[in-house]
Point group: none
DNA sequence: CTAACGTGTTCATTATAGTGAACAAACCCG
DNA sequence: CGGGTTTGTTCACTATAATGAACACGTTAG
C-alpha cells in the first residue's frame, strides 16, 4: 500500500480564500464557521471535522474536493467561434445537419449544437455517458423527442431537458424543416 | 444559493467496509481508529475530523474521495417547458427582453435564456459567482460582447464562451434588432 | 447444552474541536 | 497625526470527538 499524506487543508483553504479576495471575517459569514476556527485551521493548529470543512467549501462556493486536493489556477475564457468556423457534422445523406459550436476542448463536458432537420429526418442516439443530460430548444418548426419510454412533441420556442444516458431520438415527422439548439451536459470529473 | 447536503460518511464507510468483508475490529486495527469510534461514525452519532476519515480511507486502502462521494440513485429527467410557460424577464423599459427556459431548480447551476435586443439596448452585468461562464449564440442580427478588458463583435451564427465572474456587457449597437441564446454555467455540483 | 469467542454498541473519561471575546497590528480617513 | 476600522491571532470556556472498557447479542465448537 502506498503512503498517502493527509490533505494539506489549512494551506489549501487559505490559498483559495485569498484567491477569491475574501477575509477571514467574510468567509466566516459565508460559511458559518467562526473566524477564530478558520484562523486555527489555516495555520494547522487544529484538525477540523468533516462537517466544518463542508461548511467552508460551501462558503467558498467550491467542491469539498478542491479543499482536499488543493486549488486551481484561475483562467478566464474568452473564445469566439465564427459561424463559418463551426464544425459541421452530417450524420448521413438525407439526415439531419449538425453544426458544433462548442470547442473540442469541451467534448464530454458541455457540448452545444445547432441541428437542422429536413422533413422526415431523425437523429437516433444510443446512451451517452452515465447521468448525461440534454437541453433542447426548438428554434424553428416542430420536433418530437423520445427518451426511453417517454416522448414529447415540441413547437417553436419550446424547451426540454431529459437524461440521455438511455436510447433517445429527435425527429422531424412534419412536412416543414425544423431547427433546434441542443446542449449535452456530461457530469464533470473532479478537479 | 442551492443547498448541497453534507457527505453521507457513515453509510458510505459501512458500505465499503462490508463490501471488503471487514469487521469493525478489523478496520480498527488497519486504520488506527477505535472500534467504538467507527461504530459511532457509521451510525452518524458523531461528526469525525478530516484526519480520522483519512485514517479510515487508508485502512480501507481507498481514496478519501470514495468515502465522501459514495453511491447515488439514478433518476432520469424528462421535463418540458412550453414556449408559453417560459418565464419572461424585462430588465427595464426599453431594455433587452429575456425569456428563461431553464427551470428554477437549475438556478445557479445551468441557466438557459433567450434574449432579444432592440437596437441600442444592452444587458449590463456585474460579476457572477466565481468561475461562472457564459455560452452565447447569436440567433439573429449582431451583438457586441465585452468581458473585462476583452470584447468581440458577433454576427448571426457566431458563438462565444467567456468567464462571467467579472463585469460583462452584451449590447446591440446596430439599427436592427438582435436575438441571442445564452447559457450561464455555475461551477457547483451536487454530491 | 454450555462456555468461549466474535461482532457491534454504549458508557465514562480524556483530549481536543469550536466559539465569543479580547487583543495586537495594520490600514484608512479626516 | 490620531482615532476609528479592519484583519488576523490568541485566550478561556463550552461542546463534542475519540478512547478503553464494559456490555449485549449472536455464533461456534467441544
Amino acid at each position: 500500500m502506498k503512503p498517502v499524506p493527509p490533505p494539506k487543508i489549512g494551506a489549501n483553504i487559505q490559498k483559495i480564500r485569498k484567491e477569491q479576495g475574501l477575509t477571514l471575517d467574510g468567509l466566516a459569514e459565508r460559511s458559518g464557521v467562526s473566524k477564530a476556527m478558520l484562523s486555527q485551521i489555516e495555520s494547522d493548529k487544529v484538525n477540523p471535522t468533516v462537517l466544518t470543512i463542508w461548511k467552508i467549501a460551501r462558503g467558498l462556493e467550491i467542491e469539498l474536493d478542491a479543499i482536499l486536493k488543493g486549488g486551481w489556477e484561475p483562467v478566464r475564457k474568452f473564445s469566439v467561434t465564427r459561424s463559418s468556423d463551426a464544425a459541421v457534422l452530417d450524420t448521413s445523406d438525407g439526415g439531419p445537419h449538425i453544426r458544433v459550436f462548442s470547442p473540442i476542448s469541451m467534448a464530454e463536458d458541455l457540448e452545444i449544437y445547432q441541428v437542422n432537420f429536413d422533413p422526415g429526418t431523425a437523429l437516433v442516439s444510443g446512451p451517452h455517458a452515465p447521468r448525461a443530460e440534454e437541453f433542447l430548444t426548438v428554434l424553428d418548426g416542430a420536433v418530437r423527442v423520445e427518451a426511453g419510454e417517454r416522448s414529447a412533441d415540441l413547437q417553436t420556442g419550446d424547451f426540454i431537458n431529459y437524461h440521455c444516458d438511455i436510447d433517445h431520438v429527435i425527429e422531424n415527422p412534419h412536412d416543414a424543416p425544423a431547427s433546434i439548439q441542443m446542449i449535452v451536459r456530461f457530469h464533470r470529473k473532479p478537479f
